[in-house]
Amino acid sequence: MKNIQRKTDDELVKAFMSGEEKCLQVLIDRHRNKIYSYILMMVKQHELAEDVFQDTFIKVINNLKRGKYIDNGRFPSWVMRIAHNLIIDFYRKQKNVKEVSNDATDYDLLNSKKFSESNIEDKMVYSQILTEVVELLDYLPDNQKEVVKLRHFMGLSFKEIAEETGVSINTALGRMRYALINMRAMVEEKNISLTV
């Protein structure tokens, strides 16, 4: 019998739908960080993100137990779509979509007017740029990589980053500065264009 950890997502989903409850834990362990990161990027608050994460999986469970799942090999994408619907519902109910803005930061993915008003082609280019930036992150030392992720992908303030990583604010700022210097050098070296 195949080890549960080696099963594919679709095998785990089918087994879960057949009553093997333990498969849900494996699916969650496998994809929780990716799904939680998406939710956190959209709502910017850990408490709210955890609530949305929980509600998302409750819908996932309800759908699976009703046999509502299309086997397309993209379980995390399917779950993120469910999270997306909950997030949009949340903001619709809030009647104030501007709450998502994080104006306290000098740059934020969600505040990118250029991206929000861009056309499909621009979006594809923007997505490609983000992918290249993420690839650059891999070349950074771990402590610099962590600060960039927390600051620009998760929207944390430097005070929050300092608390999360157990360093002073100045150290966090210094790591970001060196990360940006290193990334600029890599952009020039690799001749990457960072404009849409």
Binding site: E21, L24, Q25, I28, R30, R32, N33, K34, Y36, S37, Y38, L40, M41, M42, A49, E50, D51, F53, Q54, D55, F57, I58, K59, I61, N62, K65, R66, R74, P76, S77, M80, R81, H84, I87, I88, Y91, R92, K95, N96, V97, K98, V100, L110, F115, S116, E117, K123, Y126, S127, L130, T131, V134, L137, E146, K149, L150, M154, L156, E164
Partner: protein, 69 residues
């Protein structure tokens, strides 16, 4: 005519969907970070909910956090 709110919501929807496409492309290792992990209590709530949920179940039920709500 669409209100400003509706337009903003529409942009947010587009942005959200494009982020799903983007995040899908990232390797799992990118998210290997303690700060990007939901708390154990939330995971336990989900698992417990599933164990108590029969095959057919009505929606609109919400599991609240232990000791928080």
């Amino acid at each position: 005519m669409d209100s400003s709110f509706t337009q903003d919501l529409s942009k947010l929807e587009e942005y959200s969907l494009s982020m799903i496409d983007f995040i899908e492309k990232l390797p799992d290792s990118f998210f290997d970070c303690e700060e990007l992990t939901p708390s154990k209590g939330v995971i336990d709530n989900i698992i417990n909910y599933s164990k108590k949920t029969p095959v057919s179940y009505t929606t609109n039920n919400k599991v609240y956090r232990y000791s928080r709500n």
